[in-house]
């Protein structure tokens, strides 16, 4: 399937055009994206550190994971929502940006992992491995994401 026409169409949508032509909108959305990212990072790290036996080790793993879950989902919602808006405003640039594609791949893996294997690993002997994989994937998402601006 040829994706380029889809990206061209996305860039031409009213939302994409409005953001692109506004002076303030893109920077403001970026700020929201960063703040969502910080919260997402916090919820992921507190959970993963616990799986490694660090951080909030006074709490049972499952209880802590349950308390972090709504904040993680909320933070992911903000980050993905603002991310889609930024993408719409520069879909063509993203199409030609290698870091964008790496990021999307890592994002699918990281979210998929967070809501499947990471959940199942809670309280098992796979906890430590799970934490390291989780942190590695999210680090990859963040790293590749920042590089969309450069390449």
């Amino acid at each position: 399937m040829e994706l380029l026409p889809v990206f061209q169409w996305l860039e031409a949508t009213a939302v994409g055009t409005t953001i692109r032509e506004s002076l303030w909108l893109f920077p403001m959305i970026q700020c929201g994206h960063l703040l969502g990212l910080a919260l997402l990072g916090g919820t992921v790290l507190v959970g993963d550190l616990r799986l490694l036996g660090w951080g909030l080790r006074g709490e049972p793993v499952e209880t802590l994971a349950g308390k972090l879950q709504p904040w993680m989902v909320g933070a992911l919602g903000v980050t993905v929502g603002t991310g889609i808006l930024m993408f719409l405003s520069e879909a063509l640039k993203c199409y030609y940006s290698p870091p964008f594609w790496y990021k999307m791949g890592m994002l699918v893996l990281a979210t998929g992992f967070a809501f499947t294997l990471r959940r199942r690993a809670l309280g098992t002997r796979w906890g430590r491995v799970t934490a390291i994989v989780s942190m590695g994937l999210w680090l990859g998402v963040g790293f590749a994401g920042r590089w969309i601006a450069f390449y």
């Binding site: 700020c31 997402l40 507190v46 680090l139 963040g142 790293f143 590089w147």
Partner: protein, 169 residues
């Protein structure tokens, strides 16, 4: 006191030029700055949410503070180092940028807020450690911290835009 001559000298040093003109070093430092922000602000946000009484309810406040703040501190050190390197790569423009100046003031205020919290209401944390909703002074400290750090992030991001620069760079 006019610091501009000092910043002009700083901008001309070999290290500053090297970072500024590098292909990979500058993006690497900037990426480190963003990623360590997740470590630092992520941890701070979890503590603030607990102080406000909306997140991690049921976990003792002293546990959240005692076990997460060392990580936040580590994140802060890395963030400060990468931030200083970013500043070092272009001190003339950064120091004149209004968002940078607001950001520095905000960081100072977060420090005052943290000190006030630690030396007043947190001294008596044993009295309210397990409360799902901490006393109002602790909640206020949490709200102030969150708001101030959000402003730091926003100013930091806006600093990259040259709308108000005297010299467009």
């Amino acid at each position: 006191m006019n610091l501009l001559p000092f910043f002009e000298w700083l901008e001309g040093t070999a290290g500053s030029v090297a970072i500024r003109e590098s292909t990979l070093l500058y993006p690497f430092i900037e990426t480190s700055h963003v990623l360590t922000l997740c470590l630092f602000l992520g941890m701070i946000a979890m503590l603030d949410l607990r102080l406000i009484g909306v997140g991690l309810r049921g976990v003792p406040v002293s546990d959240v503070a005692g076990r997460l703040l060392p990580w936040a501190l580590g994140g802060f050190v890395l963030m400060a180092i990468s931030g200083m390197l970013l500043f070092y790569s272009g001190p003339v423009r950064a120091s004149g940028n209004v968002f940078f100046r607001i950001k520095m003031v905000m960081i100072g205020l977060t420090g005052i807020n943290a000190l006030l919290f630690h030396f007043t209401i947190y001294k008596r944390v044993a009295d309210w450690d397990g409360d799902a909703t901490p006393p109002w002074r602790a909640r206020l400290a949490g709200i102030c911290s969150l708001v101030l750090w959000c402003m730091v992030v926003i100013c930091g991001r806006m600093q990259a835009y040259n709308w108000f620069d005297k010299v467009k760079g």
